[in-house]
Amino acid sequence: MAEVQLVDVEKRYGEFLAVPKQSLTIEEGEFLVLLGPSGCGKTTTMRMIAGLEDITAGDLMIAGERANDKPPKDRDIAMVFQNYGLYPHMTVAENIGYPLKLRGMDRKSRDARVLETAQKVELDALLKRRPSELSGGQRQRVALARAIVRTPKIFLMDEPLSNLDAKLRVTMRAELKHLHHELGVTTVYVTHDQMEAMTLASRVAVMREGRIVQLDTPKKIYSEPADLFVAGFIGSPSMNLVEGRITGGRFEAPGVSLPVTAADRDGVVMGVRPEDLQLTTDGSAAVSGKLYALELTGDSTLVTLRDRTTSICARGPADFEAPIDAPCSLAPKPGVRIHLFDKTSGQRIDG
């Protein structure tokens, strides 16, 4: 277990700036998720921690020691790769035991340790197989077992679940979470899947174009997105964002008019989550328009309304039914948060 610090770290490939200068502290024992769309620099950041990429400038501190020039093998880390990175010519047991072999552990204690680890991830029946004879989920477990067979200072996970099918992903997610609870090792986890980030993380760093735009608990990231990018990226279906202006203490846009607590101004984007809206029959409701689409998701129905340029989605009851093009009204549920952002800078403007 250790704390990881990136101090003014920067990564360039020749002229191209992949990760601009920034700092980040990953606390001891925490589960930090780097979240962002592909090409946002999250994997590069992780690979710098791993030692697979040179750091152009700045310092990387692992457990208080500068680690920039340490080769990966001396950093005492373990990593799970997106494509698993298994050794195809070795059996499952040899794959899991390889890190121990490299550390000169004798055969007998190695075998015992491999078996113990394999049991932990339910692989003990497959130890003699080769990776090519395993399913995707089983391969994933081998990669995981190989990472936890020794107790490293840090776990790095690079989109470990993205090659699995949706159902398996949910199961493995829970297992990962349990494992972190059990081992308590500092973990850095890279993903583009906001659901994984929300469920796994103690803290999430949302990245965009190499920069960390918000670093906070999942709860805070959801309830108080720092800017338009985070607001649109987190949540499913994503937050409704409507352009308009504030006059006389009300936010106004085509089909939308609702009271807000902010000074009058132009160039505002209002954000409200679909789950924070409810259907209403009140003629003077905050949002009104024609019904555009109804999508039943099982436990609820997604209701999309249109009025000229505005399109707004709300989560309604599963039994809601109405003809397309019927007039429809929505209102914020009492006590929910209305988010306001500056249109040009994208920054949050409310308190």
Binding site: A50, P71, G85, Y87, R146, L156
Partner: protein, 271 residues
Amino acid sequence: MSKSVLWWVERALLLLISSIVLFPILWMFLTAFKRPRDAYSLSLDFSPTLSNFVTVFSDPWNLGDMVLNSVIVASVTVLIAVPCASLAAYSFSRFRVKGRKFLFFLILSTQFIPAVVIVLPFFLMFRTLGLLDTRIALIVVNLAIVTPFVIWMIKGFIDAIPTDSEEAALIDGASRLRVIRDIVLPMAAPGILTSSIFCFILTWNEFLFALILTRRDAVTLPVGLVSFRTERGDLWELMSAAGVMITVPIFIMALLIQKHFTRGMTAGAVK
């Protein structure tokens, strides 16, 4: 209906192609087992004999010596070229440092140099050193042709291996050399084997160098063929027997690695 006509046309074409390819080879094999007087007739009605093989392996032809020369020259060339080329290919494939592209291009461009250009100075050098007509001379010159080719080929194979496993091993605690030994070599083994066989075939069939640099002691099989052209005319049945000796080992190798062979042929070139 028309489909079945096309189907037959396609089969007929394939059969024709196979025949065109196989016929010269088959004819040579047949001739090798014919008595001299049968060799000069086109008759297929003959009683096969091994006497041609007995003749070529005895005085004055001594094909055995040539077989030995060919085996030694080709094997040693492979044993030197392939390990060196594998290391270089790994470096070219995995590390991105300045000057690398230029170096790779330099090594590749040597492939475009005609062999005559290289053999002239070598002939003069070996003459001074007293190395003419030795196997060492042949090995040295063969390395010139084979090494760049093998680097290029193995690089193609290594490029196709994902880097994930190597990075995993680095993180698991292996040094770069250990990664090469434990992970890269086993994973690249089929490619390296294929390249070795390619390299063996090239050296085994090599003709120009052997023709110029050998006279008597170090003569290899392809050059040995020419010695069956005597004042009495060409001894076709003996040439064919020698031809069978040249061909059989190579055909076996080529067919053994058949699948990789075609992949090796296209490696790099198409990219």
